[in-house]
Subunit: 283 residues, 4 copies
C-alpha cells in the first residue's frame, strides 16, 4: 500500500527485500515472538476489583495486565473511569503481581503524564483516527497498542500506525477488535483476515481482542485459537471478578475461573501450533 | 434461536439435553469428524481443465472434488457454465480419481436430475434464501452444502438449513464464505465467529470457504488454519490449472503447486490441533 | 457501467447520444411520468382483509394495488402466503376497484401462470439474483418490478435488469427498498442516492419502497417526499386494515386513515416539485 | 432513546409535551428556519483559492462559508491544512463577503483560540466520538456543527450531541454525511432516514452533506432536494475554483459555475416545498 513507508514489510530501498519483523518490549514482555496474553478488567472500578482480577490473571498465566482508567463511553452520563486514581491502582497491581500494565488514553494532553504510570498506552477503536492523539503518542518512547476502528479499512488502520512511527516511536502493536457489520449475534464481526493481511503488509506485531470482537464469552476460546492460527501474536481478554456487577461491558467478560480454563486451552493450542512448523503465511 | 426446531443442538424435549453432532456421508467421505478438504475449479470449463485439476487435488490429498456446471453470474453476458456437459465431465473426473463430487444447483427444476450425476448439491450464497430451491433440496436424499449468503445473518442462515431439514433431508453441511462489508482489501470478510456460533447453536457440520471469503491466494493458508482452530469441519478451496485463464474467479484460485504446499501445511495444523485436546468450544 | 447494454441510458451506437426514458404501462397506469403510488397489504391474508385495504387505497388515490400471494419468509414455519387462492382474491379486488395488481413471484415455474392473474410481477429483494427467475420473467410480456437486494450494489441491481431485458422483456421498473447496514433504528438504510444513480445510468423508471426501507410508519411520509425529490417515479407503500393483526410485517404498515393522510401530503409535495421546474438531475 | 435528556424533543417533565425546535444563530444566520446553504472549499489552500471560492458562493446565494484549516487525513504525509494561517484567510474572507465562517477543529487544545477566529466549529466524522473534543466544545458559546461518524448509529450520534449540551453549550447543529456500507458507486451511503429520525427524536436542527455523502458532483443536486424534502434544515456543499487541482477531495467539489446552477435549482425546490404546506413529518 502506498504511503506505508515505515510500517511496510518491504524494505525502503525498493529492492524487494523484506524488513525483519518487529518485536515490541513491554517492560520485559516481548510481543512478536510466541503469543502473549493480555488480561484484566474493562475498567478499573476499585482497588479490590482490580487486585482480584490482576492476581487471578497472573495465576492463570497472563503476561500483561489491562485496565481502563479513562473510558470512552457512548453516553456522557455513563461511568467515565477513575482517571488518576485508576492509574495509581494499576501501578499498585503491577507491584503486587509483576505484570506490566496496559491502559487506554483518550486525550493528547494526557499522553506524557499517563506514560509515567503505565507500560503500554492503548488507542481505542473510537480514537483510531484521532490524529492529534496519534502524533502525541509518536513523541513518547513507551509502546502503543493501536486498536483498529470498528469502521476502518485495513489501509486506514496501517496508516494510523504510520502516524505514530513517523513521529519517532517505533514501538507499535496492532490490535484487531472486530468491525461493525449487519450481524447482530456477535457484538462485532471479528476480522481475522485483517490479521493475516496486516502480517503480510507490515513488520508490526498484531494481536486480537476476541472479547469486543465477539461480545460473547462462549466464543472467546475458539476465536483466540483461530487468531493464533491466523498468525496473531497474542490476544487481549477482559476478565472481571464479578462480570454481572461490572460498570462497563460486564456481559462479555470472563470470570477468573473461566479465564483459568481458557488459558489451559489457549496454551495447549499455541504449543501445538508452534510445533506444527512455521506460522501459516503467504504461499 | 426460536424456530430452529430440527437443526438446534438442543434436544426437542426441552430437557436441556443436547443432540449428538451430525455426520454427513458424501459417498463414503464423512464430514463432521476430522477436517475434510473439498477442492477443484470454480467452473467446469473443459474436460482437460477439470481432469487436470481433479488429479492434482486428489494427489495433494483432497477428499472431495468441487466444480460448477451452473454458474450464477452478475452479468447475463458472462460464462454461465456448461450445464449437462459439465456434469458429465465431473462424473468422469470422479471415475478417474475416486473423489465424490460437489456441484452447485440454481434452479429447483434441476435438483432431481442433477442429483443423479453428483454426490453433494451446493446452494450458493446468492441463492441461500431461494426458498423454492431449498424445499426441492429437502425432498431428495443427497447431501446439501448450504453457503451462507453474503448479506445474511447467522439466524437467517440456520433458518435456511431448517427449510431443508423440515422437508425431510437431514444431510446438510453449512458453509461460511464471507460476508459483504466496507472492507475492500479482502473480497469479503470471512466471519469465523459465525462458524463457532453455528457449532454452538446447531448439530450440523460447518465448513469454510477461504477462497471466496478472502479473494486472495496469500490468505487461504492462514485462514484455513484459523477456520479449523475455530471449530470448522473442513474447507473448500478453488484450484485451477491456469488461474490466469479461468473463465470465472481466476485471480483467487490456487495453482496445483500452491495447493500441494497448502495441503502440507493444512494437514500439519489439523493434526497438531487434534492432538492438543478437545476442539475449542463453549466454556 | 460495462455490460449494461440494453438498460443503459447511453445509446448503443457509442455516439454519446442518450436513449429516451422508458415508460412502463401497467394495464393503463404509466410508470415513468408523474409519480405513482402502489399500495396494499404485505400479504393477502383473506378476502375481507384484501378488499378492505384495496378499497381504502383506491379511495385515498393510489393507482396500483399490491399484495403478496407467495411470501418468502425467513422461517419455514411462518405464513407462506395463500398461493392460487391469494391470486384469485387479488383478481377480485381489481374487479372491485379497477386498480391493476402487482404481486411477487418466487419460483420460475410459477411465472407463466401467475402472469395470467396479475398485471405486474415483482421480484423480491431476496430473489434479486435468482437468475433462473429473472430469465423466466424475461420471456413474458407483463411488466416486472425488480427490487434491489438488501446486499446488492447498484451495479449488480442494474445487471439483474439487464438479465430480464436481454431475454426480451423491456417492461422493467426498478425499486430501491433499503440496504442492510449496521444501523438498527431503521429496519434497513434507504439508499436514495441509488435512485438518483439509477436514473443517471439507465433509462428505466425507478420507484422507492419506504415501508421496508425504514420499517417505521413515522418515516414513510418524509422519505416518500425525499424519494420524489431525488427523482423517483413513485413509491410502494404497505397498508393493512389492522396492522397489529397482520401475519407479516404488521408493525411497519400504515392504517387506511394514516394512508389517507399520507396521500394528501404526498400529492401536495409531488405537485409542488413538478411546478418547481425540471426534475433534479446531473449538472 | 434513553440518556437523551437535553437533546430530546420530549420535555424533561415526562408529561409527553414536546420541546420547541432549536434555532441556532451563527453570527446572524439562523439554522432551523428555512433551509440554509453552507459552501466553500474542502481545505483552505491559499488566500487566492479561498477568496475566489468565497466570493463565488456568496454571489450564488450561500449564507455561510466553510473551509478547513486543520485537515484530518488518512496518511500522515498528506496535506494537513494551513492551521493558523488558514484561519486568518477565513477571517479575511468573512470581511470580504460578510459570510460567517465554519471550520473544523480536531484537537481539544485548539477549541478556545480557534473559536476567536470563526463563527461555528465543526466536529468531523472521524472525531464524532472524540469525547474530550466534545467536552471542550461544550464549554464554549460558539455554535457547533456535529457530523455523524461514518460508522455511527443514530443513537450514538445523538449521544455525542448530548455530550456537548451537557457541558453547557446548547448551540448544536447535526450533520448527516453518509455512512460506510458495501456500496462503491457512491463514496458513502447518504442516510436521509437518519435526518427524519433525528428530527423526530431531538429538537436540534439537522443539515446534510451531499458532497461527502455521495462523492459525485452529479448527485449533489438531487440529494440536496431530497434532503430538504426529508426535513433537513440545510446543506453543506464543497466548492473549489479548480477542483482538479484541489489538495483534498477535489473530485467531488463543484466548480463555481456548477454551484451557481445548483443554487438556482435548490432555491426553486425549497420554495416549492415551503409552499406545499408543513414539512413532512410523523403521521
Amino acid at each position: 500500500m502506498k504511503n506505508l513507508t515505515l510500517t511496510s514489510i518491504d524494505a525502503a530501498d525498493g529492492s524487494g527485500a523484506r524488513r525483519e519483523r518487529s518485536r515490541v518490549n513491554v517492560d520485559g514482555v516481548i510481543i512478536g515472538e510466541s503469543p502473549v496474553v493480555i488480561a484484566g478488567p474493562c475498567g478499573v472500578e476499585s482497588e479490590a476489583q482490580t487486585m482480584t482480577a490482576a492476581v487471578a490473571v497472573k495465576q492463570a498465566g497472563a503476561q500483561l495486565l489491562r485496565g481502563g482508567a479513562f473510558k470512552p463511553r457512548t453516553s456522557p452520563y455513563a461511568f467515565q473511569g477513575l482517571g488518576l486514581q485508576g492509574l495509581k491502582i494499576l501501578a499498585k497491581a503491577k507491584v503486587e503481581t509483576g505484570l506490566p500494565v496496559v491502559t487506554e488514553v483518550i486525550d493528547p494532553r494526557d499522553v506524557n503524564w499517563v506514560a509515567e504510570y503505565v507500560d503500554m498506552l492503548q488507542v481505542g477503536a473510537r480514537n483510531m483516527q484521532n490524529f492529534t492523539l496519534l502524533k502525541a503518542l509518536g513523541r513518547i518512547k513507551k509502546p502503543v497498542l493501536l486498536k483498529r476502528g470498528m469502521y476502518s479499512t485495513i489501509e486506514e488502520w496501517l496508516n494510523c500506525a504510520e502516524y505514530i512511527l513517523s513521529e519517532g516511536n517505533p514501538h507499535v502493536v496492532l490490535c484487531e477488535r472486530g468491525i461493525r457489520t449487519f450481524e447482530t449475534y456477535t457484538r462485532n464481526t471479528l476480522d481475522l483476515s485483517a490479521v493475516a493481511a496486516a502480517k503480510e503488509l507490515t513488520h508490526l506485531p498484531v494481536i486480537v481482542d476476541p472479547t469486543h470482537g465477539t461480545g460473547r464469552p462462549s466464543l472467546i476460546a475458539p476465536m483466540s485459537a483461530a487468531a493464533v492460527a491466523a498468525g496473531a501474536d497474542g490476544v487481549i481478554i477482559e476478565v472481571h471478578p464479578e462480570p454481572e456487577k461490572a460498570l462497563s461491558d460486564g456481559d462479555q467478560a470472563l470470570t477468573p475461573n473461566q479465564f483459568f480454563t481458557f488459558m489451559q486451552r489457549f496454551q495447549a493450542v499455541t504449543q501445538a501450533l508452534a510445533q506444527s512448523g512455521p506460522k501459516p503465511s503467504v504461499l
